[in-house]
Symmetry: C2
Subunit: 229 residues, 2 copies
């Protein structure tokens, strides 16, 4: 089975998906086997412009066009290698010619399996400020807690100024951990969703007082199950 | 303009192409601009089986199928991010719906511009043992020198056992440099073509007594010219 990936949002994360998909696939199928993939790498700036303008109809149109390219290139399943564009996932899923794997739905299942009732969401300002995580999680009876406004602004700006460019600093890492620690103390969160594909590059489980949900890892694990069927 | 890439041959090299295309593109267009790319990542083992079986007709059929996927996904130009499959380049070029950029032809132009008359070719056993580099270069009046049989076997096996898996050792690097030095002394080569996309990972210009032609760099530079038009 061939898988399609909508990538470029950003490129660092696309490389991370690509390498991890191959590694996880080979753990099951052996070092000499390789998955067949087709990756559509979009212009991140144009996609972010649509999100900034809240032009979600056009965002869905653009992403659906790419999904159709993947499908016409023989991909039988696809995913978007980025959290933020999942704000239009339902629209895409309704119109896609092939099954799509949602990073939000898969993360929700994993939280449920871990008996989580209250979980923090870190991600871009778009992801934390939208309701697409909340909608999926509330149906599963899980409460999503987002950081305070200033914390959200800090996380958003460091993702784009540092993580998207592969810049990982101890300073930014510690600032994220202070936010997590505050939410553990004040909000009694039981876990943290790393709801941006760049966040696992900086936040590791050993540093956190609560369980971290690596959405990329969860997303890839689900894809691998399809690919090795 | 959107570019198509046939990748996965191997994955390490595909990531290298992807990162370098974005970096070179942004050097011209600015850090906030991103090229639109579509990457078809093939199962390297299957492709190598066809090459091992000398089933070049089927190799061309498979690659052409992938090129057509890229074209139907709106790519207006494409390249194969690997030297070895260029053994069927002319057949692909004759049948492709979009222009293809040949790593061999572009390297030949670069050698000619550098006033090279005699150049060594390092690559996989397939690349060194085939005539597709020779054919293009002889038309330009440039003589291709390949290493001796034992040297070719050594280069081939270390490419697949080490470089394809990201393993870079001082030992293998020095063994390559001994081969280059012998060819400089005995064959009077004026340069060396790094005719495998993994070789620039281990051989650097500073280590070599003659000019190294990084075929990946040459290939990407030509693509960038198209993308920024």
């Amino acid at each position: 089975m061939k898988a399609g990936i909508i990538g470029g949002l950003g490129p660092q994360s696309t490389v991370d998906y690509y390498n991890r998909i191959i590694t996880e696939y080979q753990k099951i199928k052996g070092i000499d086997d390789y998955p067949e993939l087709i990756i559509e790498s979009l212009n991140m700036t144009r996609i972010l412009e649509l999100i900034n303008q809240e032009n979600l109809d056009e965002l869905a149109v653009q992403l659906l066009k790419s999904i159709k390219y993947l499908a016409s290139s023989n991909a039988e399943v696809a995913l978007i290698a980025s959290n933020t564009p999942h704000m239009v996932f339902e629209k895409l899923n309704d119109n896609s010619p092939i099954p799509l794997i949602s990073i939000v739905e898969e993360t929700c299942k994993t939280c449920k399996n871990n008996n989580i009732h209250k979980v923090a969401l870190l991600g871009t300002g778009f992801t934390m400020g939208s309701s697409f995580y909340q909608e999926v999680f509330s149906r599963a009876g899980i409460e999503i807690i987002i950081p305070e406004r200033k914390e959200r602004e800090h996380i958003h700006s460091t993702i784009f100024r540092e993580l998207e460019h592969g810049i990982i600093t101890e300073n930014t890492k510690n600032s994220y951990l202070r936010i997590i620690n505050r939410m553990v103390k004040e909000e009694s969160i039981q876990g943290v969703i790393l709801g941006c594909t760049e966040l696992p590059l900086i936040l590791k489980q050993d540093d956190s007082p609560v369980i971290l949900f690596d959405t990329v890892e969860i997303h890839i694990n689900r894809l691998i199950k399809e690919l090795v069927k």
